[in-house]
Structures are given as C-alpha cells and as structure tokens.
C-alpha cells in the first residue's frame, strides 16, 4: 500500500517544493548574455522536507517504520503538498439527502472544493477547461492533483487563469497549468484541489535519511523526494 505522507504525519519545520528539470547553456554572447534553454519538456516535482523532529520514541519508531517500509526508495509514496485546502471559499452548499434544506432555506456547507474537467485533454496538454464548485475565484498558483488511471496521483499547479465563465453554481475556468498533463483526461474526470499530492520516491542517493541520534532521543532528519515515473 502506498503511504500518504501528510504534514501532520512527519512534522517537518521546513518544506521546499520545486518543479525541476534540466537547463542547458549554449555559451555566452559577446555582450554577456548566456544562452540557456530548457530541455525537460516541463520538468518534474522535487520536494525536500527539512528538520523533521524526532523527539520521542514514538517519533523514532514512526520514522524507522517508514524508512524500513520504503525499501531504500524502491516503494512509492504519496507526498502531500499542503495540510489544508488552499482555496476554500463559501464552500459547496449541500442539502440533506432528500434535497430538503433547513427551515430558513440555508444548506449545509462543505469545505471541500469540487472540480472536474469540463473538456477532454490530451497527454501533455497545458491548457485545460475546468468546472469548479465552491471555491473562491482562482488567481493562479493553485496546486491540484489528478488521479490518472496508470500514472496515478500527479501534482499540477495553475500557472495562469485564462478565462472564467459562470455556469450555474459552478465556474468554468480555462487554466494554463504546469507541468504538462502526465496522461490524457476525459471530460468529467475529477480534480482534487483539497489535498494536492504527488506520487514520488524517496531519494536515497544523496543525504543518508536515517537519523543520527544524540543523547535523549533527539534527532532531526531531512528527507528528499522526487516525482517518479517508474510505476
């Protein structure tokens, strides 16, 4: 089973997400401008969790259990980007199951943002049509996850809001996203803005993630993850 790594599970004091890739330079022109071009076609996600505190036996056991279970980075993990949804607004208005509302006409309020694709999109598409309920207006920079049939949970972010059109209680946005879609989507597929997460692997090649204990069971470790395409 794939572990979900949430901010509440591993109490890190710093976190850094980046969409990394490869940049190649072609030398410097005579007036000093270097020619660089990106060759990764959109890049992939990297995450660094800094100073995860291990203060108690329970923390130590948790970290050890996770590290043992990940088999030196061989097992995938689902790393959550945020502890709470970024874009709760008024929330979705939810009636009772028989459609009735409270006696004053008001509904229950869901903190969840519901969203789906309003149109199909091909693999590597970067312009999407998305229908969203119960969120404040998008500004760009909203992370979200799409659960693909084969590529599993993938993290994306909105780079630009190209247009927005009200559609009943929902809003239909045209968004430019990054990185490009890892797999084709069809109209009606769900989008998760509430718990953005990504399928990643622990990077065991760099810093040794196993904790070094000082007297009194005190330790801090850093873990680095990178998005994986080995399924």
């Amino acid at each position: 089973m794939t572990d979900h790594i949430t901010p509440s599970l591993l109490r890190y004091s710093s976190v850094r997400w980046r969409l990394g890739g490869s940049i190649h330079g072609g030398g410097e022109s005579v007036f000093g401008e270097s020619q660089t071009r990106r060759s990764d076609g959109g890049g992939r996600w990297f995450a660094e969790l800094g100073s995860i505190q291990i203060n108690t036996d329970a923390h130590a056991q948790l970290v050890e259990a996770l590290l043992l279970d990940w088999n030196n980075g061989n097992d995938k993990v689902l790393l959550h980007r945020r502890a709470a949804p970024l874009i709760v607004g008024g929330g979705s208005l939810v009636p009772f199951s028989d459609g009735a509302t409270f006696s004053d006409g008001s509904s229950l309020v869901s903190g969840q943002v519901n969203a789906e694709f309003a149109a199909s999109a091909a693999k590597r598409a970067t312009t999407l049509s998305v229908r969203v309920w119960g969120a404040r207006a998008f500004m760009g920079g909203e992370p979200f996850t799409v659960i693909h049939p084969t590529m599993e949970d993938r993290l994306y972010g909105t780079a630009r809001v190209l247009s927005s059109v009200a559609d009943g209680e929902a809003t239909v946005y045209s968004l430019r996203i990054s990185p490009p879609l890892r797999e084709a989507v069809t109209s009606g597929d769900q989008i998760d803005f509430n718990k953005p997460r990504c399928t990643m692997r622990l990077d065991m090649s760099g810093d040794e993630p196993w904790p070094t204990y000082e007297p009194g069971w005190l330790s801090r470790i850093n873990l680095r993850f990178s998005e994986t395409f080995r399924l």
Partner: protein
C-alpha cells in the same frame, strides 16, 4: 552520420526536447527515449515509421558532446546508462547481437512557452550502434553498473578493406581469369629493360 537538410540546428524557441530512437529488431521493439520528463508521444514520421511513446530517461549523454556530433566534429558518441542492475547486465549479453549494427537516430523538437511542440521532430544524427558494453565501479553493495552503447556516425569508417596483394595469385583469387598482375613481379626497381 547523414546530415538532414537542417543540420546546422538552431533552436527557434526557448525550449526544446531531444529524442533518441534505437532501431533494433522489428519495428515493434524499437527503443524510444526522450529528455522530456514524463514521456512524449509523437506521431509517425519518415524516421520513426510507427510513432509511439518516448520514455523519459533523463539525459543519456551530455549535450555538448551531442552538438559536436551534430556539427560533424565527433565520429562516435557513447550513450551511457549508469545504475542498472545485474538483470540488465544479463539481458545485455543476451540482446547484444540484436543491438549491434542497429540504426540510432537522434532528433530534436522545439517547444513553445507552454511546452507544446512547434513543428515535428528534426532528426539530426543517424548512426550505427556498435556492440554495447558494461562496466562496474566499486565492489559489493556499492557497485555501480553502467551500460554503454557506442554509436558511430558515418564519419567513422567501419568497413575494413580486404588485404589486397598485387600478385598473380591474389588477382586470380579476385577474378579467376584476370591476368592483370601476371607481370607485376617483373616490375622491380633498377631492372634493366631489354628493349627489342
């Protein structure tokens, strides 16, 4: 290497992607690699007659070396894949005969600011794969296995000419009734010609 029409490659946009196509065995078994994270599906063209999904493998080779090959300065390139396991090494010895002599193509595509392709792939390098080899660095648990695929371009002449002796027997072996070299032995330095 055979130069395509636009061999002096200049990227038109701020981004590009590199594609590698190893034509080993039947078309269904061709190996497709790309520098694009997450892979890239391309339609069929004149080189990749089937088209298909190119798998991301990071960067198999440094780009400066590749550009030297595109410009014709190098006659062979080594594509290395470090960090493979023992199973891959075993498969390498099995599949060596299929890979050796296979055509290798390297192409590029321009990407716009939204990472969408502009035009189709420009296939810039066409080479022939030599026998792949593997190497090991370190011992035991920390050993690093690397598979290397040498690819030679047309600048590197692979054909070794047959050893030719200009003797009567040598010429007979090439052409049984050819007397062209029959008197070669009489052509010696310092020989006095007996004029009639």
């Amino acid at each position: 290497m055979s130069y395509e029409s636009d061999s002096g490659y200049v990227a038109d946009t701020r981004d590009f992607a590199i594609f590698f196509l190893l034509k080993a065995g039947t078309a269904a078994n061709w190996v497709r690699l790309t520098s694009v994270e997450g892979g890239f599906t391309v339609p069929a063209d004149s080189i990749d007659t089937l088209g298909g999904n190119y798998t991301c493998l990071g960067f198999p080779t440094g780009l400066p070396i590749l550009s030297e090959a595109i410009n014709g300065a190098f006659d062979s390139i080594d594509f290395s894949l470090p960090g493979v396991d023992a199973t891959a090494i075993r498969l390498l010895t099995t599949d060596r005969a299929i890979v050796t002599g296979a055509a290798v193509h390297v192409g590029m595509i321009d990407l716009d600011s939204a990472q969408q392709p502009v035009g189709s792939i420009d296939w810039l390098i066409e080479g022939k794969a030599a026998a792949p080899r593997w190497s090991r660095q370190g011992q035991g648990e920390g050993a690093l296995f690397t598979i290397t695929l040498p690819v030679s371009t047309a600048l590197f002449e692979r054909n070794q000419s047959a050893i030719a002796y200009l003797t009567p027997t040598g010429q007979r072996s090439r052409s049984s009734d050819d007397a062209f070299c029959d008197f070669v032995t009489k052509m010696q330095a310092g020989m006095v010609v007996d004029w009639p």
